[in-house]
Structure formats: C-alpha cells, structure tokens
Amino acid sequence: MTTDALRLRRGRARGASRVVRGRRVRPGTIARFLFIALFTLFVLAPFYWVAVTSIKPSDDLLASPPIWFPKHPTAIHYATSLNHMRGWLGLKNSVIIASFVTILSVLIGSAAAYSMARFRTGGKHLAFWVLSQRFLPPIAVVIPVFLMFRTLSLVDSRLGLILLYTVFALPFTIWMMYAYFRQMPPDLEEAALVDGCSRWQALWKVAWPLAAPGIVSAGAFAFIFSWTEFLFALVLTSTKAVTLPVIVAGTAVEFQGNLYGEASALTMVSLVPAVLLGILVQRHIVRGLTLGAVQG
C-alpha cells in the first residue's frame, strides 16, 4: 500500500462537501482533526500519568487535587521497586524467557513454515491444527499444564515457561514466515540447488538470509508475546521464575499501601522493550495480528 494511493483519497467515504480551490476549510476537516486530537490525547494520557506518578514523592501521590508535575521528582520508586520488590528478578527472568522464546519460536517456526510453504507438508490439516492453537484460551490449558509441570518438576522454572510460551508463539511465527516464504520466489533456491547445494543448505544459506525482515518481525511478535503474558506466569511461577508482569500486578494490587509509585516505576520499565519493538514492527502489524489474513 503506497502513500500515493492513500493520498488519492478525497474524503468521499464520509459525505464531505466538494473540494473547491482556495482556502475554504470544510467543516468535516475540523471535526476530523478534533477527533484525531482527542484520540491522540486518549492514547497519550495514561503514559503521561504513569510516567509522572513514577517520579512523584510519596506525599504527592496522595494529593488531591492531583499534582500534574511534582516539584521534587524522585527516583526512589525505581530503586525501591527494583531492589526491594524483586523488580530485578522479574526483569531478569522476563528478558531471559522472552529471548529464548524468540529464538526457539523463530527457529522452529520458520523451519516448519518453510516446509509448509515449499513442500505443502501436512497440507490443510497441519495448517489448521497449528493455527487453531492461537485461539486456545490460556485458562483452559493452565490447570492441566500446572498438573503436568508438577509431575515433571517444571513448576516455577524458566524452562517450563519457555516451552509453554514457545508453543503459543508458534502459530504467530509460523504464519508470518509462511506468508513471507510464499511470496518469495523460489528461483534463488532453485539456482542454489542446481549449483550443487542440498536442500538443507538451500534453506540455510539462501532462503533464511533473504527472509531476514520476516524473521525480525516474527521474532518481535514472539518477544512481545512472552514479555506481556500474564496468566501462565501468575499460576506457574512463584519465587524463582517470576516474570515482570506478575511483579507489576503485585505492586499494583497486592502490596499494602497500593504502591502507586513503585507500580508506575515498574510499568515504565516494562514498557521500554514493548514500545521499542512495537515501533520496529508497526509496519507489519496488520499481517502479524491477523495471521496474514489481511495485508497491511
């Protein structure tokens, strides 16, 4: 979708009055930009409030009327939440788990996607089965998984979460890579085969490097999924493998005093990779979220 095509739009879809030369401003335009402005405010407001709350000294937190920017900002909430409330532990676990899940799901996913794209492996049935995992409600799975992990001593372990998250990330990565491989012409791989490469080498040396942008997007989705997942982490971790979302929920809900400052500080910390990655992949987001059904 090019910007040229978008520029061709003349607002016809909305019943606007005719365009005339000159500087007359259509009433529709004001409404339009007002709406956009309001929505922008709506999106930005929570970010602002949480950012400000994370640096307010404790007395300011409870002030009424609310304080819009503290006179004496402080970093104490960051220090407290990271040092005294297992913030570092949660951060560390989340980073480790998300990284492994990304690597695993991209490797396994793109391998499977390649096979399905180039060789139609498993046909419709495999595709159906893999895709339907996406819609499995976590709550339906969490009790049996808990009991299974108990038998395998995987409760409260990073390995357990990594395996579980990978399974849930695979539909995303497989589907994104599948779409990517399908639209990649097989010519270069054919050429490599003619040159004497095995199929295996064709995959590693030719197809994969070419698919790098798709891999990056798929990896980013997998990372964000593991970074933000909550229910499984809540149930399956307690002391060793606890992840950042669980700690954030803990400070927001559970601690005495509803530690608003600490909750905000941890929230800001969690936002960083999510926002950065989001900006990275925002171009592919439509394809990713709808598993390729809609081309963005």
Partner: protein
C-alpha cells in the same frame, strides 16, 4: 589407509545429508509438531481424567465422581453470571472498538503532515501488556488519588465522585475503556488497510453514475469492507472472551462477583479455592464454546491457502 577412511567418512556424510534432504520436509516440521503435541496432548489428556474425579485440596482422594464436576459448574450461579458478564463485556468492548476504530480510520485516511508519526503512536498500545493497561487505568481512575474525578468535575462544573471500580455500572465502563484503549488501534489498522485498498476507480465509477457521497459510502465502501470487518470482529471477539489480566488488576472480579469473567472465575476455582476438578471441567466447557467460534475463524483464514494449493 587414511585416504580410504577419509573418503569413507565423506561418503557417509553425503549419504546422511542426502537422507536428510530426502526427508527434509518432515525434519523441518518435526520440532514444531512435537513441541505442540507435547504441550497440548499430555495436559489435555491428563485433564480429561481430572474432569471425572474429585481433585480438591480440602477433600482427600481422587474418587470417581462421573459428571459431578460439570454439574457443579453448570449449577453454580456465579458461573452463569460470569458467562453473561463475559459475553456482555466482549460485545460492548468490540462494539466500541469497531466504532472508534472506524471513525479513526476514516479520519486518518487522507494524508497530512505528521500522519506517519501518529500512526506509529497509535499502534503502541497494542504492544503493551494488558496488565500494564489495567495498571494505567487503575491509577487514573482510582479515587481519591486519580485525576479522573477531578478533571470530570472541572469539565462538568460540579464535584464528581464516581468510584470507577466499585460503583455500578462504572466498573463495566472502566473495563471496556481499558480494553478499548488497547485494542481500538487493532480495529483502526485493519479498517484503514481495508479502506485504503478500495480502488479509486470504483468511487469514480460511482460518481459518474451520479451517486452522492453518502450513497457511494453505503454501496461501495461498506460492502467491500464487510469481509474485513467480520474478520476483525471475529478475532477480537475470540480474544476478548478470555478477559483476565485487566480484571485481575482493575477490579479483582469485584465488587462482590460483579466483574467475574469466565477466565477469572475458573482461575479462582482452580487456584484460589483449589477445586481443581471443578476448574478443569469448567475450562473444558469454556474451551468448547471458544472452539466453535475459532473453528469458523480458522477455516476462513485458510481459504487463501486453499486457493493457492488448489
């Protein structure tokens, strides 16, 4: 001697790699299939057993109870209530997101300075953890420390004292608001792509035929947009039925049990009250409901695949 062994080794390697090549299609899908099998079949199989026995912290033993677990969930008024709450919240949230997303897509359709940047900003909520979204709104809406009541008071001119997580119906509003904040961009992006993909020529043809802007909207835009809208709505619906994170942070299912969704109810049964047998039975019933919708959705998604593989 050494040379001979060397060629032998190399020949074996070549044989192995050609074996690999011949079956590469299976080797490549194997890890994914095996992993998914392991993490779904075993638990689902085990839970099939748990469905029909007593599995409860407070009551020792695992005696066979046939359909008792299912019956208890079916008869539990809180489970019913949770079902209605889930359906209601999902419908409301998806409706709000659809309308807002559509309006936003229309507004953003034409280019203007800074549109690219706004697009990036609008997409960010999608990558935020739902727990964080719940925290956002918990901080903004909570009385007496959040700014919402204060701002509302200023705008409306009299003191506003709504308890957004305790007063009826405001706790529903809060949840829908939080969900809309995160997922309106989803609708927005999809609808924008859909709107942008409608060819100009269709509009020009309609104009030539004498259609007013309103008519071309109803007869060109909407029909072409419908399949995409259906897809997006189905996606959101299936996802929103799993409402948990925001509930956990914002209301904890309260006050009382007013904001219990199915996921929260099952979580409470399984991991707060330790009625694991009941929780499992309830989860199976929930899964069946979701599967019906998901089935349709997956088939619809695979259609392009069918067309290609035909």
């Amino acid at each position: 001697m050494a040379a001979h062994a060397d060629t032998y080794g190399r020949r074996r390697l070549r044989a192995a790699s050609s074996l690999l090549d011949a079956h590469i299609r299976w080797v490549l899908v194997a890890p994914a299939v095996l992993l998914i099998l392991f993490m779904t079949i075993y638990p689902l199989g085990y839970s099939m057993w748990v469905n029909f026995v007593n599995y409860d912290f407070a009551i020792p033993g695992h005696r066979w109870v046939a359909l008792d677990n299912f019956k208890t969930v079916w008869d539990d008024p809180i489970a019913r209530h949770a079902l209605w709450v889930t359906l209601g919240l999902s419908a409301a949230a998806v409706a709000v997101e659809l309308v807002l997303g559509f309006l936003l897509a229309l507004a953003m359709l034409r280019a203007f300075v800074g549109r690219r940047m706004l697009m990036v900003l609008f997409v960010v909520p999608l990558f935020v953890s739902p727990v964080i979204v719940g925290t956002f709104f918990s901080l903004i809406l909570t009385r007496p420390f959040g700014p919402t009541n204060y701002l509302l008071g200023k705008v409306l001119g009299h003191t506003v004292n709504i308890d957004f997580t305790n007063d009826h119906p405001w706790y529903y509003v809060s949840i829908v608001l939080a969900d809309a904040w995160q997922w309106t961009p989803f609708m927005f992006v999809i609808l924008l792509a859909g709107l942008a993909s409608i060819s100009d020529q269709l509009y020009e043809a309609a104009e030539i035929d004498g259609a007013s802007p309103r008519q071309s909207f109803f007869f060109v835009t909407l029909p072409l947009l419908t399949p995409i809208v259906l897809l997006a709505v189905a996606f959101r619906l299936v996802d929103s039925l799993k409402f948990f994170d925001v509930i956990y942070v914002l209301t904890r299912g309260g006050p009382g049990t007013s904001t219990y969704t199915l996921s929260y109810y099952l979580y409470e049964q399984g991991f707060q009250l330790f009625h694991l047998g009941m929780g499992t039975a309830g989860s199976w019933m929930f899964m069946v409901v979701i599967s019906v919708i998901a089935f349709w959705l997956v088939r619809r998604l695979l259609k392009p695949v069918d067309a290609v593989s035909a």
